[in-house]
């Protein structure tokens, strides 16, 4: 295995843990949620963007803390639920799991690489949508279909956007 490969797969956790200011941790998720509920009123196609999910993935990956990741996911999800017509906890559960698993992945691989971020974002978007569909059917009894192709396309779109957003959020990290 090459040296860059070792960096990607293992890395040094202590050196790669990103730290953010508190206001960043508060404002960015809030902004993402507001964007999702407000912008699509004017630009409908932007409604397909799952910015709260992207923010969750980013913070979980970068903080490399499973507990931190699941709390970030739970908070963002519950906030998102509070603005939706769905019961509180639907997005909360899904994003809690996404945050947890994203943090778990961030502990093992180098998530600074754009390709890794692209794939992880794509994967977690698909996981997020699928899990939400499962919970909707299982807990709420909603008879909705899971559109795989559409999900894959939107997953790719969100992954691309996510890479850009992640790059922007990297700027908000505290400097070591």
């Amino acid at each position: 295995m090459t040296e860059s490969g070792d960096r990607i797969l293992v890395g040094n956790q202590r050196e790669q843990v990103s730290r953010f200011r508190a206001r960043v941790l508060l404002f960015v998720p809030l902004a993402a949620i507001l964007f999702q509920v407000y912008v699509p009123r004017f630009f409908v196609f932007l409604g397909y963007l799952e910015l709260p999910l992207l923010v969750t993935i980013y913070f979980a990956l970068m903080r490399r803390s499973q507990i931190g990741g699941l709390f970030v996911g739970a908070c963002i999800g519950l906030a998102q639920d509070s603005l939706s017509t769905k019961p509180l906890g639907m997005f909360g559960i899904v994003k809690t799991l996404v945050g947890y698993f994203a943090a778990s992945v961030g502990l093992r691989i180098d998530v600074e690489h754009p390709a890794i971020r692209l794939m992880l974002t794509f994967f977690f978007y698909f996981f997020h949508q699928f899990l939400y569909w499962v919970l909707s059917r299982g807990l709420l009894g909603e008879q909705i279909a899971f559109e795989i192709q559409r999900t894959l396309v939107l997953g790719l779109l969100n992954a691309i956007v996510g890479v850009a957003v992640f790059h922007f959020l990297d700027k908000l990290r505290e400097q070591a």
Binding site: L70, L78, L97, L139
Partner: protein, 399 residues
């Protein structure tokens, strides 16, 4: 445990957070029946456990209940069996008491009817020995019982006293091999000697082979033995076999047929007449013919009924009435009626015989009576009852 939670702290927190949000969802969501999901989930989660617990509890309780019931049923079965046995014994006892009461009643009736002086006694014991045909009765010399006195029941002779004690007596039964009594058959008055054989039946000995004895014939005491008075039933013939020089006749003693509980000891015997055997072809009572159907003429008998003597007697009565003569009132030497007188309506009058004269009662008893037409109370048909003539000699009139 604490170490385990600390080691998997992240997973523990994940589970708790997920669970908390699930509860949160459950609190908010309602199902189709407007029931909160948390209630549905709680019931769904608890019900199977409760069902399992209830199944286990019900099974256990049912098992113990069934066990107790089976145990109780076994006890009840045992109790019912005991009660059934007790009731059977009671039933037997009551039957025995009823039978004893019937026998006592028959004994009292017989005691009042028979001219002999008797004293009632109860069999209180049987003699020792397997083949013993001896019983003890509760009347002894203190009651006037003496050795040799006959013992009878209304059905027949039982035996004779062979020993009299102050308070009891020993009676040898007719079935004892040492027992003997003079007997005579009812039908042909064939005399013989009754002997016991040691079992249920007796035999009649010393009956010559030429004598006529048939199965079913009854034997009575003949009085020749100076023990049993004449005329007491002994038994019926079961079988007869010709042998030389005497017949072998087996008799079933009638006095022992219905068991032996109460007997009569004959203190003073009185000879009685042996009842006559019923004739084989006795007149049979025939009912009147059915009444004629509506519109059908009642047919009068075309000729006189009865015997020739009846017709002749009736003819003489009509002759006497025609000539003013009353039979039985004329003095000796007076003029008898003209028996050759031609009656003008003799044929018509003879055709109407007195039904009462021709009517035959049971066992040949005859009595005069009005014709049915003459007695409106009876409503009997006018036709006289036919009589089946008996080939046996006429019975003595009891008029």
């Amino acid at each position: 445990m604490e170490t385990l939670l600390h080691r998997h702290r992240d997973k523990t927190v994940l589970v708790l957070v997920i669970f908390a949000q699930l509860v949160l969802i459950a609190v908010q969501v309602r199902n189709d029946q407007d029931v909160r999901m948390i209630r549905v989930w709680s019931v769904t989660a608890v019900t199977p456990l409760a069902r399992v617990l209830e199944t286990v509890r019900g099974g256990g309780v049912g098992f113990f209940h069934n066990y107790i019931r089976v145990h109780d049923a076994r006890e009840e079965n045992r109790r019912l069996e005991a009660e059934l046995d007790r009731l059977k014994m009671e039933n037997l006892f009551l039957k025995s008491e009823l039978s004893t009461a019937d026998r006592a009643k028959a004994l009292v009736a017989f005691q009042a009817r028979t001219p002999s002086k008797t004293i009632a006694a109860r069999v209180i014991a049987s003699g020792a020995g397997a083949n013993s045909k001896v019983v003890f009765v509760d009347r002894g010399s203190g009651s006037g019982v003496e050795k040799g006195m006959p013992v009878v029941t209304p059905d027949g002779i039982v035996g004779k006293v062979i020993a009299a004690y102050p308070t009891a007596s020993e009676v040898m039964l007719v079935t004892d091999p040492d027992f003997a009594a003079g007997v005579i058959s009812q039908k042909n008055h064939v005399a013989g000697t009754l002997k016991g054989q040691g079992h249920a039946n007796c035999k009649v000995d010393y009956v010559p082979s030429e004598e006529k004895i048939e199965v079913g014939d009854l034997f009575y005491t003949s009085g020749d033995d100076r023990v049993f008075p004449r005329g007491f039933p002994v038994g019926a013939v079961l079988s007869v076999r010709s042998a030389s020089p005497y017949k072998e006749i087996i008799v079933e003693p009638s006095g022992l047929e219905r068991g032996l509980e109460a007997v009569l000891i004959m203190l003073e015997g009185v000879h009685q007449a042996i009842p006559e055997a019923p004739p084989a072809n006795a007149p049979v009572y025939l009912g009147p013919p059915p009444p004629p159907a509506p519109g059908e003429q009642a047919t009068q008998p075309s000729g006189p009924a009865g015997t020739d003597a009846d017709r002749l007697r009736q003819h003489y009565q009509q002759l006497g009435e025609a000539q003013g003569h009353k039979f039985g009132e004329g003095l000796p030497g007076s003029k008898p009626p003209d028996f050759n007188l031609k009656l003008p309506a003799a044929g018509q009058g003879a055709a109407q015989p007195q039904a009462g004269d021709a009517e035959t009662r049971r066992h040949g008893d005859t009595e005069k009576g009005p014709t049915p037409a003459q007695d409106p109370k009876t409503g009997v048909s006018a036709s006289p009852r036919p009589r089946v003539p008996s080939p046996t000699p006429a019975q003595p009139s009891q008029q």
